[in-house]
Subunit: 249 residues, 2 copies
DNA sequence: CGCAAGCTTGAATGCCTTCAACCCCAGTGG
DNA sequence: CCACTGGGGTTGAAGGCATTCAAGCTTGCG
């Protein structure tokens, strides 16, 4: 059972939680928050660990507090596609479903703030703010999935890589309510293989395109897992779509 | 204004509505239903017509009663990807957002059951069943989008075509609560170009693969827009994933 | 040191695209 | 009546981009 591998971690109070502005609980007031506080528990996973396998029972839901996880789907012959990327504040699990539809893997050290599923489902009925926030988040995820469809269906390998870096930079910046510009650094809590699974490429192609972007000065590599971007605008240009990334919500 | 092009159609009472089992309104009881009934109005679009352009104001939401529409997204240079396929009972529009994020085009003659957005948003607060159903539908759409990611990222052209046919057959069958098997017919309310935009291919590749599947007896063509499948099982096999399509929900 | 995991780079192959010609057919007007 | 036209569809040939297969590199660690 993969759950046994999870470490229960010391909890932090909600009022100093780094994701309190964006997670499912973000619309909650004092009373509601203390109810949540009494129910929550933390789980920690190490990079590479599987949180659940597709098809296995999943009796909790939760929010990513820190770190990153990927949802993946497979075809019979082993071809793998990442179908979801869980970053801090993202929600894991589906209310009303007791079996995981996708395999969830920690791509970096991961901290989850969890609730047992049944009690959480009751909260969804009792506290409409939570259901409302979850709907909003699900709609946002659907929009993100749709951008991703465009990426997979129509972008070149080079544009795909640039797009991924843009997404990570924007998400990282959004947590501190900023908007990336100029010279920035991006953490890459993903192996080349995970990037390939995200982008619908092979790991060799990812590696080659990273090298190409580096050769041309679009990015600099600081180790394998940290990227310096001299000009964020330039990177966005390379990503194919120059939408501005929408409102800072 | 594209809206002017829409024809207002004669309404049918909700109790004989073909999508009453699956649409946003499906969990509503008598009182709620009559409230909805007093607010709803129909709009009709012809095949090829644009319902809204991305970026334009959208003051209504609604359900597809019959026909089919596509949501599309574009890159600056014109590359186009379909990012949503609206079939009967699917929901159009996003509560809380007044500007369309995607261009919506009728790919066949289309009938929508609409509500003005503001009053509908009030309903979402007043009638939790509606909000609940919308959450459920959004989660289902997210799952569908994730299957689509796998399709775009990892499937061959041939598998993509087969997968699309499987999806259409399943959706068509789900409306009458059945499950496709054996010899079946599938309506294809899509041009080759729309299929290509859905699948992340060129229309030539779509045409070639359709011809190949026909040559090998996997499908038969009855005109350009109707496909006969001698063995649904065989088609599923060609689609790459042989999951059974999940529960009949 | 030596091993393994993750990553990079090279060469050859293949799948899908691109560009182009042609077909089919419904609608239109001389 | 039938030639004309245009949209949608099919088919062919050539080329390109990403994959596949393979070798070698880098780095952390027992």
């Amino acid at each position: 059972m993969p759950h046994d591998a999870a470490l229960v971690a010391t909890q932090q109070p909600c009022h100093i939680c780094p994701i309190k502005e964006r997670a499912v609980c973000s619309h909650c007031g004092g009373d509601e928050l203390s109810e949540l506080e009494s129910m929550k528990y933390y789980r920690r996973f190490e990079a590479g660990q599987v949180v659940v396998w597709a098809g296995d029972r999943l009796d909790f839901v939760g929010s990513v507090v820190s770190g990153m996880a990927g949802l993946t789907q497979q075809l019979e012959d082993g071809r793998t596609q990442m179908v979801g990327l869980l970053l801090p504040s993202d929600f894991l699990g589906r209310p009303g479903r007791d079996v995981a539809a996708y395999t969830v893997t920690a791509t970096s050290d991961l901290l989850l703030c969890c609730f047992r599923r049944k009690p959480f489902e009751k909260l969804l009925i009792d506290i409409p703010r939570i259901a409302g926030r979850l709907l909003e988040m699900t709609l946002d995820e659907l929009d993100a999935a749709r951008d991703w469809l465009l990426l997979l269906g129509r972008k070149s390998a080079r544009e795909k890589i640039a797009s991924l870096l843009v997404i990570l930079a924007r998400r990282e910046a959004a947590l501190i309510k900023r908007r990336p510009e100029g010279r920035i650094a991006i953490e890459l809590p993903l192996t080349r293989e995970a990037m390939a699974d995200y982008l619908g490429l092979t790991l060799e192609t990812v590696s080659r395109q990273m090298s190409a972007l580096k050769r041309e000065g679009v990015i600099e590599l600081d180790g394998k897992r940290r990227v310096i971007v001299p000009s964020f605008q330039r990177l966005v240009l390379e990503s194919g779509d120059d939408s501005d990334g929408g409102p800072l919500s």
